[in-house]
């Protein structure tokens, strides 16, 4: 019990940046605290009642000093602000080649879905040195995916995707907590993140038999729900073809607009279009698609998005 840590482990590239900003701010804090406490103590001892010391015309104001202790802290604050904000951008803007893991938060467990098809509850196995991007959504209340060793967290919202990325730099087992209060077992909604050597990670992937990749599961769902009927080549009803659509700019005509404006066909657009098709219809198409609001769960939507993303990548290379 007595070997308790006083400082968390650093296990990701982001952790070094965050710690650097934290030390800078702590430096400023200790500087000001030291300044104030030293002045404080000297005045208290020097000017306590009964001491023989010069107390003639104590100054009751001094513009120069007042301006000084406004301008100096302001300059220091601006410097800290610039430093911290630059780190913030690096903390949340994932590199292009990040390995995407889908996270669905539900009351009191994180369900993590690897693209290779493996699914984990409150556990996440990742290889060292490869950036991982988590694409997260909640099925009920607000949760927050927090790994102290990676120095970052992000709330999971119901109805909207949020992301978090990190690049592990140290093998080991690290805590995973839910940081946003979410009800009875909020404190038990926790687990761990295992950072493994790439070889061990590959071996771990194979364990549990050959599982179908996420994209394949998405394709199966795509057929099962007869999406191919309209969006596939048979075109029973004229609907936009989905090959190569992921990530492209789609012309959208909204009710009340005259000129279509362009929307990036990312996961948000695809999810909204499945749940509320008539919200942003592609220009030149009729609003005929029914809403799948209560028929597709968040994990099904993520599978469909993975599938559409996979057929998109193939076509894009060809185009």
């Amino acid at each position: 019990m007595w070997n308790f840590p006083l400082f968390p482990e650093r296990a990701s590239t982001g952790a070094h940046d965050v710690d650097f900003v934290f030390f800078c701010v702590m430096l400023v804090i200790l500087f000001f605290l030291g300044l104030i406490l030293s002045l404080f103590v000297t005045f208290l001892i020097r000017y306590r009642r009964g001491t023989k010391v010069n107390r003639s015309e104590p100054p009751d104001t001094n513009l120069k000093i007042e301006v000084a202790w406004v301008v100096i802290p302001l300059i220091i604050s601006i410097l800290l602000y610039v430093l911290a904000t630059s780190v913030f951008f690096r903390l949340y803007r994932a590199p292009g080649d990040a390995y995407v893991v889908n996270v669905v938060g539900k009351r009191w467990m994180f369900t993590l879905q690897h693209p290779e098809g493996k699914r984990e509850i409150n556990e996440l196995h990742v290889p060292i040195g490869r950036p991982v991007q988590l694409q997260m959504i909640s099925q009920d209340v607000i949760h927050s995916f927090f790994v102290p060793a990676f120095r970052t967290k992000q709330d999971l919202l119901p109805g909207r995707y949020t992301t978090l990325w990190f690049e592990p730099t140290k093998v080991g087992k690290y805590h995973l907590f839910c940081a946003e209060y979410c009800g009875t077992n909020h404190s038990r909604m926790a687990g761990s993140v295992y950072v493994m050597e790439p070889a061990d990670y590959e071996r771990w992937l194979e364990v549990g038999g050959s599982n179908i990749t996420l994209a394949k599961q998405g394709e199966a769902l795509f057929q099962a729900r007869h999406c191919g009927g309209c969006h596939g080549p048979s075109q029973a009803v004229r609907a936009p073809l989905l090959d190569g659509v992921y990530g492209s700019q789609v012309p959208v005509l909204r009710e009340g607009d005259k000129v279509p404006h362009f929307v990036a066909a990312d996961q948000r657009y695809i999810r909204d279009s499945i749940l509320e098709p008539k919200k942003e219809i592609v220009a030149g198409y009729e609003p005929l698609m029914p809403s799948y609001r209560d028929q597709l769960g968040e994990d099904d939507l993520l599978k469909l998005i993975a599938y559409i993303k996979s057929i998109g990548l193939g076509k894009e290379a060809a185009r």
Partner: protein, 217 residues
Amino acid sequence: MATTEAALILAPQFDDAEQQHDSDSLGMWVFLVTEVMFFGGLFAAYAVYRYLDFPAFVAASRRLSVTLGAINTAVLLTSSLTMALAVRAVQLGRRRELVYLLLATISLGAVFLGIKAYEYYDDYLHHLIPGSRFAFDGPFPARVEMFFVLYFFMTGLHAFHLIVGIIMVGIITFLAWRRRSVVQGTTQVELVGLYWHFIDLVWIFLYPMLYLVDIHR
């Protein structure tokens, strides 16, 4: 009608009548600022959802009757006029004129509530009241339901404030009618006047925001 020699009761904590009047007036203005912030929360929600789902607001706003809204605005503006004239009457000490004008203000307020009740009933018939019985055949019914949630919250809160206003005007009408001299009630009528004009101010903004959202098509 000359006011008889009447005594203005001065509360013990004040030094003179002018200080008492300034305090009461400043107190009411500060209270009106809290009311502005109270409605402000709803205005912020309206602004956010209008930004996020403008098409839904367009479709939903068309289901409201612009003419009824316009009539209601005219009614409330007239009631503001009669209230302003009532304040003038009390300053001039004309008790009879004050009572008539206050009664006019109350009746106009009641007419407004009547029209509003009729609109609510009409919405009820068309299943536009949010909740389980909400039905909307156009696109994105969920976001249209959000518009109506906002519509009923904003107009409902406004109507509640109007009812409180009518009660207060009723009280000072009764006081003005029963008392021989109106000197005593001058400040009270001025304060209720400020409150009434505030209710009118809120409706001046509510009407274009809720009824005139892109109705030209």
